[in-house]
């Protein structure tokens, strides 16, 4: 009989983390990198909520923190997409490799 335990959640979070890191490292499109960042944030969220669920005595700090992270992710996405639109207007692309005016 299989029961879902803490380890399962941690593995899911670790997979999310690795997928996110892989996305960040391979994508050259700024929006793609942002999607990778969202995966990282959700890996942290899964961890936090799972740790709370399997704690003796039941604390809520992790779940509250997960709520905060959701809000932070939304704020970050808003700012990031705004910056991407601005970059697109100026450079006609959101490829991070094309941003090479500032160097040295």
């Amino acid at each position: 009989m299989l029961s879902i335990g803490l380890t399962h959640y941690l593995v899911v979070a670790a997979v999310l983390l690795c997928t996110g890191l892989f996305t960040i490292m391979t994508k050259r499109n700024a929006i793609g990198i942002l999607i990778g960042v969202e995966l990282l944030l959700n890996a942290a969220n899964v961890n936090l909520v799972a740790f709370d669920r399997f704690r003796e005595g039941g604390l809520f700090d992790g779940q509250i923190m997960a709520l905060f992270i959701i809000v932070l992710a939304a704020a970050e996405a808003a700012i990031a997409v705004g910056i991407c639109i601005n970059v697109y207007k100026n450079l006609a692309t959101v490829d991070v490799d094309s941003a090479r005016q500032l160097q040295g």
């Binding site: 942290a44 961890n47 740790f51 923190m65 970059v87 100026n90 005016q101 500032l102 040295g104």
Partner: protein, 539 residues
């Protein structure tokens, strides 16, 4: 759910006193709200906004002074039932930093008013972003709770990304904002993942509990030590990003070159100083948790890591500044190097442990105050030259001694102070870091002394390059037209550098008072740290 049956958790807590202790931050928030409302009543012109911001900064400064007076007798930790694990901390260090931050914000505001205000069409947005990042920095130095550390770092970072690319038609600004935002959001996300692991291990978001866990469990307890190492590494990487320590410094020169000069000045001092004080607070909490016999065994490697990162940061910053043609970029690399010097002070108090931390922390605070004036002056003069000639290349400074002696002389003072030569205040800042390092009387201390002195000699070259251009290079261009207020600001900074050299002792005494009164965090579950841990019966 047993907590419903408990008595009022707020009983015995003076809510009025606690709200007062955090009034500087509340005042900053109110100023932001006022800036939002102001355009509805008085239009979007820069003048009404400027008045609102000036009043807000003065009120915040006054409240921070009042709070500093109250907490000098004892730190307040609170806005949370239960006292010890309070989310926000008001102590002399946080109040002192808020005072410094407001002085600096006033300087930035003045610089903006002199230069950009006339052509600025989006003044309300600019100041909401600037005040928002100031609020984040004020929060960063007044918390020991992982949740609030994250919120503070993000509150400081998100407006910074936007403000770097504030001018929508500026290609360099857009690119700088993109790079800053990508590096920043990735490092924040990695930091959050690390914190989630730490939370799982420790069962608390309080840094004091985390330190207690590390001190009792150490790194020698099987698989959880891997999680602990990864978590701590990710957590400190997030802080290192704010400080722009190597290898997390790549965003710094690009973001600083692309941003407006006022914004560059703001980020180069305020965000680094806030990150360093946060690092100091966290590191000292770890030191306090480690008992005396374990002290050297645990803290010495940590001090070595911080010391080596500091030395490398210094060296890379200085060597990269060599070949720069843009003065803004040169000063950006110089600010990386200075973050390295300041991190050396952090190595001191980690090495010395909790009893002997004052020397290192005092040196750090003195350095931050002096560094604020040096950078405000140097960037301010760069701004005045850029606004006049439209270029921030080294050539723009040719013959400045003849074209604008009132800019060239303070520039020489600021640059020589950045090198750390007497009789300027930069010497005092470096001197006390070197004294604190020498006071350790250990291999690490002497290694860092040598690194700092060698770096000072290296840095002399590229700062002198600007001086030589200003004094000796021939240039037939007309005299620089600069606003009187701007000239007054940079000369005040230069004067402050001379005065702080003369009155070094009072500066040190007051910095010592700030570091002595620092809040000492207490772990909330000192007796049974094991019972709160996650049940290992996962699968």
């Amino acid at each position: 759910m047993s907590f419903l049956a408990q008595t009022d958790p707020w009983a015995g807590i003076d809510v009025g006193e606690q709200l007062f202790a955090f009034s500087p931050m509340i005042a900053l928030i109110c100023t932001m709200l006022a800036v939002v409302t102001c355009p509805l009543l008085f239009g979007r012109g820069p003048r009404p906004i400027a008045i609102v911001v000036a009043v807000g900064v003065i009120v915040t400064f006054y409240l921070a002074m009042r709070v500093a007076g109250v907490v000098s007798t004892g730190a307040i930790s609170g806005l949370s039932p239960g006292g010890a694990g309070g989310m926000l901390i008001a102590d002399p260090l946080s109040a002192g930093f808020q005072i410094i931050l407001m002085v600096f914000l006033a300087g930035i505001f003045w610089l903006w008013w002199m230069g950009s205000a006339a052509t600025e069409r989006n003044a309300p947005e600019f100041f909401i972003l600037l005040l928002g990042s100031a609020l984040g920095m004020a929060l960063m130095v007044s918390t020991l709770n992982l949740l609030l550390i994250v919120v503070a770092i993000e509150t400081a970072s998100l407006p910074s990304y936007a403000i770097v690319g504030f001018d929508k038609r500026d290609k360099a600004g857009a690119e700088a904002a993109l790079k800053y935002m990508v590096f920043g959001s990735v490092s924040a996300a990695v930091m959050l993942y690390g914190i989630s692991l730490l939370y799982g291990l420790v069962g608390s978001l309080n840094v004091a509990d985390l330190a207690q866990y590390v001190a009792t469990m150490g790194f020698h307890t099987g698989e959880s030590s891997v999680l602990l190492s990864v978590g701590l590494l990710a957590f400190f990487a997030g802080i290192a990003f704010k400080v722009s320590a190597v290898p997390f410094h790549f965003w710094c020169p690009d973001a600083f070159e692309g941003a407006k000069v006022e914004v560059t000045t703001w980020l180069s001092v305020a965000s680094k100083a806030a990150g360093l004080i946060l690092l100091a607070r966290v590191a000292l909490t770890f030191c306090a948790a480690v008992e005396a016999p374990l002290n050297m065994q645990f803290l010495e490697p940590v001090a070595w890591v911080i010391g080596i990162v500091a030395a490398v940061t210094c060296t890379i910053g200085n060597f990269s500044a060599y070949k720069q043609e843009s003065v803004k970029r040169l000063l950006a690399y110089s600010s990386i190097a200075h973050a390295g010097y300041m991190m050396m002070a952090a190595a001191v108090f980690v090495y010395a442990g909790s009893p002997g931390y004052t020397a290192g922390l005092t040196a750090l605070l003195v350095y931050i105050i002096i560094y604020m004036f040096m950078n405000l002056g140097a960037f301010g003069i760069t701004a005045l030259v850029v606004w006049d000639g439209g270029s921030d290349k080294l050539d723009a400074f040719n013959g400045l001694m003849r074209r604008a002696p009132w800019l060239a002389i303070p520039m020489i003072i600021c640059l020589m102070s950045l090198v750390g030569l007497p009789p300027f205040a930069g010497f005092i800042g470096k001197w006390w870091i070197l004294v604190a390092l020498g006071g350790l009387d250990s291999t690490l201390g002497w290694f860092l002394v040598i690194a700092a002195v060698a770096n000072t000699l290296i840095s002399l070259y590229f700062y002198l390059r600007i001086v030589v251009r200003m004094v000796f290079a021939e240039d037939q261009r007309a005299a620089v037209r600069a606003p009187v207020g701007g000239i007054a600001l940079v000369n005040l900074c230069a004067l402050a550098l001379l005065l702080l050299f003369v009155f070094a002792q009072p500066l040190k005494t007051s910095a010592e008072q700030l570091s002595r009164g620092m809040y000492q965090a207490v772990a909330s579950n000192t007796s049974d740290s094991s019972s709160a841990r996650v049940a290992d019966s996962g699968s």
